[in-house]
């Protein structure tokens, strides 16, 4: 149906300014749609919005009035619930100003012969059946109430004897008192440092044991002669956890032994997993090589070229695999390294730059081949 309304602009603005819908809005909207459908059935083609609202209002008022009158008659008869006679009486009351046929007749026994019912009967027979367009859910929907749990449900006993336990519990003291937010303890700088160092050692120890396990697994599958390295690792691991800070060269040895494994294991599917793990250590190898450049052993059996990777390390500190979610440990170790001073930072950078240049030169030589 077309909308011919123009005078409603003001009303719409008023509605838009406060867009909160009352509880009424839903039922009113349904009433409007129902009215529009009725009018369409009668033969209307267009409707003003204001007229539609008024008609819906009239219909709602009619229903409310009918309900009120029926209830009145039921209460008058000493009943709480209404029946058809109450409704008929209400209908006749509401039709009184216009009059209905048979009003002058004394109420005979049959209520069906009353004027109001007769009119409704006629309407039923003549009118077309136009059901409401959409299914309407039952409303208003009653939401579940969340009850405050009782003392019994909470497992508490009330503080006062006069309060029975089946009543809702009292609110917690933190809701009305100022309680401390966390446990305040004294912070001692020295003990904190010692604790931090201990945690670092523990982290590095576990990292070393992981590498040792990787090497062991790799060596057991490939039957390589890596036992001396393992023994060394075992020795070093058992001796002290300060491996990182005191023996960077030894740490480098461990990494070198791991590098020698991949070519032997590449053919085996089981070792591919290890290879990928070892590849993740590849970035760390760069850092190792920087430290090893100065004191090179004869064990530089690095076959492939490595992509240059810059680790964010502070000077004087060597690390193992970062991608293994050891960033936290890295940070911790970084902090620990700071205590030992920023000794070789610039030297490290220089060495790295030189190494990269050398690598690129070697690559250029390799490419034409």
């Amino acid at each position: 149906m077309s909308d011919g309304g123009e005078a409603e602009g003001r009303r719409d603005e008023h509605n838009d300014s406060n867009m909160r819908f009352g509880a009424d809005e839903y039922s009113r909207a349904i009433a409007r749609v129902a009215m529009a459908q009725i009018c369409e059935g009668i033969g209307f083609e267009g409707f003003n919005e204001s007229a539609l609202d008024s008609l819906a209002d009239i219909a709602i008022r009619y229903v409310c009035e009918l309900g009120k009158t029926s209830r009145l008659y039921a209460n008058l008869a000493g009943r709480m619930s209404c029946n058809i006679f109450d409704i008929v009486q209400g209908l006749e009351d509401m039709g009184t100003p216009q009059g209905f046929t048979g009003a002058s007749e004394v109420h005979s026994d049959c209520v069906v012969s009353s004027g109001a019912i007769r009119e409704i009967k006629e309407y039923l027979e003549t009118a077309d059946e136009v059901p409401f367009g959409q299914p309407v859910p039952h409303f208003p929907v009653i939401s579940e109430q969340r009850m405050i749990p009782s003392f019994l449900q909470m497992g508490e006993t009330p503080a006062f004897k006069c309060v029975p336990p089946w009543l809702p519990a009292f609110p917690d003291p933190h809701t009305y008192l100022q309680t401390p937010v966390w446990n305040e303890r004294q912070s001692d700088a020295r003990t904190d440092k010692i604790e931090l160092a201990r945690q670092h050692r523990k982290a590095e120890r576990s990292l070393l044991s992981l590498q040792q396990r990787l090497i062991c697994n790799g060596s057991s599958v490939a039957t390589t002669s890596d036992e001396p390295y393992n023994e060394e690792n075992g020795l070093e691991v058992n001796n002290n956890g300060n491996l990182i800070f005191e023996n960077p060269l030894d740490a480098g040895k461990i990494v070198m032994s791991k590098i020698s494994i991949p070519p032997k294991l590449s053919s085996q599917a089981h070792a591919e997993k290890k290879v990928s793990l070892l590849e993740t250590f590849a970035p760390a190898i760069e850092a190792m090589k920087d430290g090893l450049e100065s004191g090179s052993d004869g064990e530089n059996t690095i076959p492939e070229k490595k992509a240059p990777v810059f680790l964010e390390l502070k000077g004087g500190k060597k690390l193992f695999g970062e991608p293994l979610d050891l960033r936290i440990r890295n940070k911790a170790v970084g902090r620990a390294a700071l205590w030992f001073g920023h000794n070789g930072e610039n030297d490290d950078k220089k060495r790295r730059v030189e190494f990269i240049l050398r690598q690129s030169l070697e690559n250029q030589q390799e490419l034409p081949q």
Partner: protein, 121 residues
């Protein structure tokens, strides 16, 4: 009731009445009114009307629908019977470039019709 002269009649009458009533209510249930039952139930509950019988709800719905249909039918007749003066006037205004908003209706006071019906109760 006129007491003793018609002893027999009330009983038979009541049976007939009951039959007629039942028949009427059954015919009610066949017809699906345009006004949905949930809406009617909501507003009846708001007015204090208590009845678990769905047929009575239908009766109220049909009565309301009949009432509105009567109003609308009269309005349609009025609309058709009214001369087409206002429509011509609007066309002529547009021809001459005059755009005047035609007032739909006139109210008694500025606050007339603003409050919804249910707020009165």
């Amino acid at each position: 009731m006129n007491g003793q002269t018609s002893h027999q009649q009330p009983k038979d009458g009541r049976h007939d009445d009951d039959a007629a009533l039942t028949e009427f209510l059954a015919s009610l249930m066949d017809y699906t009114p345009t006004i949905p039952d949930e809406l009617v139930e909501h507003y009846l509950a708001k007015s204090g009307f208590q009845c678990p019988d769905a047929r009575l709800t239908r009766l109220v719905a049909v009565a309301t629908q009949k009432f509105i249909a009567d109003v609308a039918t009269d309005a349609l007749q009025q609309c058709k019977a009214r001369p087409a003066v206002i429509k011509d006037k609007r066309d002529k205004q547009q021809k001459y470039g005059v755009n005047v908003k035609h007032q739909e209706y006139f109210a008694d006071t500025p606050s007339a019709g603003l409050d919804p019906a249910s707020r009165d109760e």
